[in-house]
Assembly symmetry: D2
Homo-oligomer: 383 residues x 4
């Protein structure tokens, strides 16, 4: 069995999700190349070692440059916050490593373009992890669209709604600081929706947007606290420097009219990554909180028996599912990461590309940047 050595940079939430996926992928799927969990990298030695022990990373390293430079490392898995993506990805590309990059891609469109050029030049397999593309129900949506079952697409709605910072006492974690996160839900959540829209509908031609902020100051965070439920440091308040919500209206190149909503202030929505697609022959609805389901309306049904059907995408005919459990035995959030690892390794093995890649990241960031421009100028932006 051919193997490849993986070096992961980052050991928080995404480090956990990626590690689990590297482990699970070869257990549930037949893979031509088996990943070896070689080295885990992070700045703080103690938690890093504990992370490595737990997930079976053979070694630890606190300097990511050393990981990138190691000859025995084939794959760099970038699982750190976005302000670090640019530098690491460039170095990894230069070093000829295949790159598994967690989204969002970068802090700026310029960074993204440079990263894409570098990766393309180096000839490595580069992947931007919009994991939701690999949810079986989303793949089914794509299949139905490709088969023409939806017809010409008239409308897209992508809403990615959460509510984890509605409490004014929620601390000022890095997600709420522009220099770390680049932006708020616009980059974090709309980026997923834009990726899904490009995957399912096509390129976006025009954008308008409005963003807003509901809470401008928050308690400073406790550096050691957990990512999403962090305690406060007691050291006072700091300014929130990203938006709390971002709404867009867009025109697609194919004429579809669409909307996007990203917010962390949608009380009751936990990880509501939702889309609706309306077309001339049918329509689709997806909600990540019920990620095993896809709703499908078809005008091909007899007129008296048309309706949105809830497809439980857990049949063996649905992508990836045959490798998991029998019908009706649902899968969860982390399974999408497993699918990503499987497809990424397969792309490396076959020497092909994999979508979404850094090029897709650039296209996505063009839309996101255009939206921010529109929000600040009050004008439509034509892409």
């Amino acid at each position: 069995m051919k193997t490849m050595n993986v070096g992961i940079i980052g050991y928080q939430f995404m480090g956990k999700a990626h590690s689990n996926a590297w482990l699970q992928a070869p257990r549930f799927f037949n893979m031509n190349i088996k990943p070896v969990l070689k080295v885990a990298c992070g700045r703080r030695k103690e938690p890093l070692q504990s992370f490595a022990d737990n997930w079976g990373w053979e070694e630890v390293e606190t300097d990511w440059r050393k990981v990138v430079e190691r000859d025995d490392i084939d794959i760099i898995d970038i699982a750190v916050p976005q302000h670090l993506h640019y530098e690491i990805a460039l170095a990894a590309a230069k070093a000829g490593k295949h790159i598994f990059l967690e989204k969002p891609m970068a802090m700026t469109l310029e960074q993204a373009r440079e990263m894409a050029a570098a990766a393309e030049d180096s000839g490595v397999t580069h992947y931007l992890n919009h994991n939701y593309r690999r949810c079986p129900a989303v793949r089914l949506a794509k299949k139905l669209i490709d088969e023409g079952k939806i017809g010409d697409i008239y409308h897209w709605r992508g809403a990615y709604l959460q509510d984890w910072i509605t409490d004014p006492q929620f601390p000022l974690t890095w997600h709420l600081q522009k220099d770390k996160a680049g932006s708020g839900p616009h980059g974090d959540l709309n980026s997923h929706s834009v990726d899904l829209a490009r995957y399912l509908v096509g390129e976006i031609a025009q954008v308008t947007a409005m963003t807003t902020q509901f809470i401008s100051e928050r308690p400073l965070p406790d550096a050691d606290a957990a990512t999403f439920k962090g305690g406060t440091s007691g050291a006072g308040m700091g300014k929130v420097t990203v938006e709390d919500a971002s709404f867009m209206t867009v025109m697609f190149k194919n004429g579809a009219l669409g909307s996007f909503e990203a917010s962390r202030f949608a009380t009751g929505r936990k990880n509501y990554n939702f889309f609706e697609i309306y077309g001339s022959r049918g329509s689709l609805i997806f909600n990540l909180e019920r990620m095993n389901e896809l709703e499908f309306f078809s005008k091909d049904d007899p007129e008296y028996a048309q309706g949105f059907r809830t497809i439980l995408a857990t049949e063996s005919v649905h992508d990836y599912i045959a490798n998991w459990w029998p019908p009706g035995h649902i899968i969860g959030y982390e399974h999408e990461f497993v699918h990503a690892m499987v497809d990424f390794m397969d792309a490396i093995n076959r020497g092909t590309g994999i979508a979404p890649d850094f090029y897709d990241g650039v296209k996505e960031m063009e839309v996101l940047q255009a939206a921010l421009d529109s929000a600040s100028t009050g004008k439509v932006v034509v892409l």
Copy 2:
């Protein structure tokens, strides 16, 4: 029992809905003034007579001016297409008649302003029939908001989606002609959503919008055909002169960020008048296709037991319901018109205003006009 004579102008879809409501209101509700179905007015004698016979209108008249001028008529019910609203409403106000006006209010903002001024000057009771305000579940939404159960409102989404013209062979009915309808779903559907948004969230401060058209030519209609499933005349094609869909992003005066979507091309949506409201203490969801239900999320629930609850608003404690049937026995579309007649007559009796009135119509049209301006200029419009 005090009575008042009603003259209705229009005998199509809305003529039917209004006539039924005039009849049902006093049967199910205690009313201090009982409406008398005095005269029905329309241009074509034969179908008008048949309409009057069916619903029990005592007389018929083909000239609406004569109806408005009759001394024995107390109330003018305007149930014709919107291009006729201005002239009739002005005349009715001048003649001192109470006015029950079907929405949308007028063809232009200027008309609306003039109508509102005339009605206000005349001292009559004037009502613009956004019937959905009188759906018990919508009233419950208002009550929860007024009680503070939703807290500060962060987000509004209003989507009014239908699919009745996705077939390119659907004829060019008056709804698709700008000189008759003023606009497409923007005026027809967004108007309802804007009214609900103003009722539930507040005034709108800024608007951006995009509109589009999917089908530019359609078969000419058969003049005698039914309104929504009309046959074609066989006389060739004509230009569609209204938009097919209109999306807006708005900022409310209270800081809430909102979106609107109106389309007649949302395959699978029949009369999907949908809203979502997210606030600091709770959230609400409504869908007219399930109009007896309201979804309510409350952060006041214990943390482990929070969720969107589906309230079946058919208890006797819900507005209007005690007059209908026992709990769980749902009401339908036309009941909202009955409620409107009851409240309108009550306002006349008590000499008070009733919302929404012509002033509300003006405010609503300011938003709709701003949106059309934004769609054509590509710029945000500040109201």
Copy 3:
């Protein structure tokens, strides 16, 4: 226009529902015979007169025998509690009147058989009002079954659940007294479910049942209080003499295995008349609280796109709907009574029968009686 005179016996909940339906039927539907609301009958003069005035019954009468004996009455509408059905129906049949009988049919199977024989002998049109057969979504279920879309039926589940007497202070209304009501939810609710099961699945061959009572004593009721939210008289407590819940398991003649649940102690269920049907080609789900919808699963769909689709049965192709409103404009509880009146008058006009009739009532009562026998003996009853 041919007319027929109706005499109604009963002026409470069902008197209201029937009166409304007699009025609405000719307004929304083309009828060859138009009903005339001739005389309303009840024991207490004052509320009766008020009822008659409200609904337009021309005359009142306190002795039902006089109504039945009048030559000018063509139709007897029996809308009183079930302990009075037998005597009135027999007299009406004997007098040659067409009979519109509210369910449940009678107090005993013997009564039902006698009533059916009398009605059959007299040659009148006799109808037992299981109104839910005339819900468009239920008619669609029947159509799909008749077309073979469900295939061989394997399973039926009928649950009719309410919660209006969970409060121990709810008074001992007539519904809870065996001499007035015959039985509790078994006769009131299971009767509806058995009718639907016979309509959709077929005859029942074997029954087992268990019944139970949760609250054995309740405050005596205030005689003047409204039916379902009645006050108490303050005169002490009385014994509940009917069951509070009744569950059945049945085998149908065609081999389907089924279950029934009827309860007034299902907290949160208001008028939850629910059925599920599973067959070899497809399945169906219906819930009266969402009575405009039918869920349909079809194995004829491609394997990757199968799911329960929610059909909004408000298209003009659905039974009765073309006479009401456009698609997506839902109808309510009372509309089913209107449909019943329309079909009943049509049956009279054409001289045909109408289902369910008194014969159906007998078959239904055979099942209900068998269940009570099983509950008391602990043995399966073979029909």
Copy 4:
């Protein structure tokens, strides 16, 4: 870190589910004893070795007695079909091994009683794997009941519905042979529902049941084919010797009236393990196909705002969830097995029992056996 050596018997569907859980448990949860995947046992060497390699079992063995007799094995995980449970469990108990036993417990009530006595005598920790008790949403149901939020329980409905054998060409796998499986969905599915009913409602006092068979002969299976989508051997037909569906009505000791439905012929239901509980203060609904959700109705809510709320049981306050992902990131089927391993090891560590254990298995089989007796005699069985 203390460790314990596990020997697993069986390498098919349940072998896979258990192996994954043994691996995942220590990665996501803090465990005082860490399981070591020591030896995997099965009769066919080749697929067994492949299974062991995939999941990291250190050794393989084809004779289960040798595994049970090994001194270095602490835990026997029994993951073979039920006809083998009795013999292995007895031997394991005798050898003083802790036992993790997959359900259903045994072929007969007598076997179950003997197994329970042996396990109790030996002093080992014994666990019967009704994994659904460890679904966070089910645990939440238990919590709400224990807190009194549901009040006195009036009704239980447990339906476990699947459709994987509706195709008459589905082969005669071991599940359909009485000598291998004991019974059909009654033992396979009702057993789960009875376990949940005992967990949530209490002991059952009386049972009636009906069972039936829809397809009596099926093609003989291909021995090498996968468990649930197996090919046929081409060697002709064989008799189905188990029931295809089993329905029960029960009375609980606390007076609740309940129903059970188990079928493999419920077209459209894939793994629909559903329950409803109605009580004097509230109600609960669960559906395994949406296993991250629990519906909860509370009469403690204000009367105008009562409704079934859908709790997404993915908050950190919900059992087990803090160890997985942030809110709204759902978990899947296999996670329940992980929870079982965690709790089982914890019970061993603390020297306490764990529910459900073999005693629970006996109580459950008493109900199942009583139901089969009732189905054959046509009489209620009092437990």
